[in-house]
Symmetry: C2
Subunit: 341 residues, 2 copies
Amino acid sequence: MNLKQLATKLGLSPTTVSRALNGYPEVNEATRERVVAAARRHNYRPNARAIRLATGRALAVGHVIPLNTRSEIMNPIFSDFIAGAGETYSRNGYDMILSVVPDEAEETTYRDLMSRGTVDGVIVHAPKTNDPRIRVLKDMGLPFVVHGRATGAALDYNWVDVNNRRAFQRATEFLLDLGHRHIALANGLEHMDFAIRRRIGYSDALAAVGLNPDPGIMTSDEMTEMNGHRAAERALTAAIPATAFLCASMLQGMGVRRAIEGRGLRMGRDVSVIIFDDDLSYLRNGEAVPIFTATRSSVREAGRLSAEMLLSVIAQPDAAPQHHLLEAELILGQSTGPCPT
Amino acid sequence: MNLKQLATKLGLSPTTVSRALNGYPEVNEATRERVVAAARRHNYRPNARAIRLATGRALAVGHVIPLNTRSEIMNPIFSDFIAGAGETYSRNGYDMILSVVPDEAEETTYRDLMSRGTVDGVIVHAPKTNDPRIRVLKDMGLPFVVHGRATGAALDYNWVDVNNRRAFQRATEFLLDLGHRHIALANGLEHMDFAIRRRIGYSDALAAVGLNPDPGIMTSDEMTEMNGHRAAERALTAAIPATAFLCASMLQGMGVRRAIEGRGLRMGRDVSVIIFDDDLSYLRNGEAVPIFTATRSSVREAGRLSAEMLLSVIAQPDAAPQHHLLEAELILGQSTGPCPT
DNA sequence: CCTGTCCTCCAAACCGTTTTGGCCCGCATC
DNA sequence: GATGCGGGCCAAAACGGTTTGGAGGACAGG
């Protein structure tokens, strides 16, 4: 059942039927109701392909997932972010298109999505320092929102980010207040922007009390359980062992906990741990009471917000760039306590 | 730059240009080269919206993600499956559309995707026993492939699945061979089809040596670390404590390990553990040598295969239903050993 | 009665491709 | 020299909507 058929069945022109269904004012209320009723009865659904061609809009947004050979982006964050963004899209009648491409093809993919008219805008994931994608997208004129920020980008652009620096600064301060002086950092890969900011927050807090970061207890690696474990083994057997840990992810925190307990120590009493908790649906940080003390910020919420921002940018492409800085909350769990003397 | 402009620039008709670019035979080789060269030079890219309308094909496939209030599908599996499927799609010029919808709207979403012509086919995720979606899609005539199977479905349909029953049967047999007689099962939610099959494999293996499953050491729950931990606590303090565990996921296995070590026992010596390892990119089961003995099957590979199957179904909608049963390999790690006497 | 203004509706153009149904010309065949 | 047959090209009709630019009629105002 298409528009023309519906129109003849109603004894109206396609024009009027189209207008009636799309809520234009120049159609009599009585006929509008008649049209709407008939449309429902024959469950007419306008062909999306035709609408897209006629209106020149794609009614779709893209998420380009570079399939790194060293696979970094296919991370645990991803599915929750997508869930949040996807909710927003479906509520607004937009499609979400995922492009999984080898990372060297990422730029080409953006160009393609744009020039073939497949999407109206894109979300940029996992920005690196001085990320080249920003310049490219800006030049192309394709609306985009970055999840995160890219330090050093000369241009202004739309982004949604967590205040990673402050989160880790507060967490470090909290550990310092508990008397810890040897605080290990199990960070993410530091070519990623968020990881750099977290390290700065950590260093700043140390510097504020006259401490220098000790490279012997700082690691930067993919945020897996095993790497967390490895980092903790190293920091716990250092010349001056760490008494506390700051972890960039839940998984790393679990690895650290394993190392702690594996040495017969108890987390929260002998060694303190704070993690960054992305509040993932399948990696809950405890139930009633959190296991880990954590800086928490929902990545799903970030997905929602990024999507909303992108839709608003698409609607008004010439508006000034928008920014949304989320604050992580510091939640108290069972993994922190005063530094043993 | 669109087809018409390119055509006039070449002094040809749109017809000929279109045919030249699409490799039709009725165009002179010399002109074809001229056209191709010009297309590249002006980097002409055909408008996807127009192609879709003209050909009547969506050149896109859908993945509908029901956003369960009890969030079951937004699981760790998801991102790897998507990565695998996405690779296949981009290689074949198809778009992947993700629809995140409240689960009561799932059927409506399928209807919409189909009747508005947004997709040419869909992948069905996380089938339950006697899953109603299969009947619905069959009736609609929308091509689909199920990732997993739905026990009890009367109709035949396309699916890609792992031999979950045999995997757990073999794992159980292996533990029995090592002398274990009290084998706990930390299963997934048993309204999910894969979980049922795994339990059957487990029970069958026990039955084969004359043992009955002990409900006191069997759990069925979401596959999280905490649930694994809880299940292990229970099974280790049962009247007759379990000496071995079969876990449906890596995360559960990690929880079980924590419980074991928390009681001062050692995994692999005092208590054996076998997990089902989906080979996720951010949850690697060890490096050189696996931590957990496991039945392993790459969910990413399953994604690739499902996507390929779907594309073939779309190409030949009337072919007989296809099935692809993957076998999980049993890999030996450090988490299993003879039953202590 | 004439004019102007709404209110409703419509015919036709348009979006950018693919595809159908020729057309023209050169060349071989009889 | 007519006929047949491909090869190479094209005009125009789809595809299924939206949007532009009226048209016709009712009704109010002068």
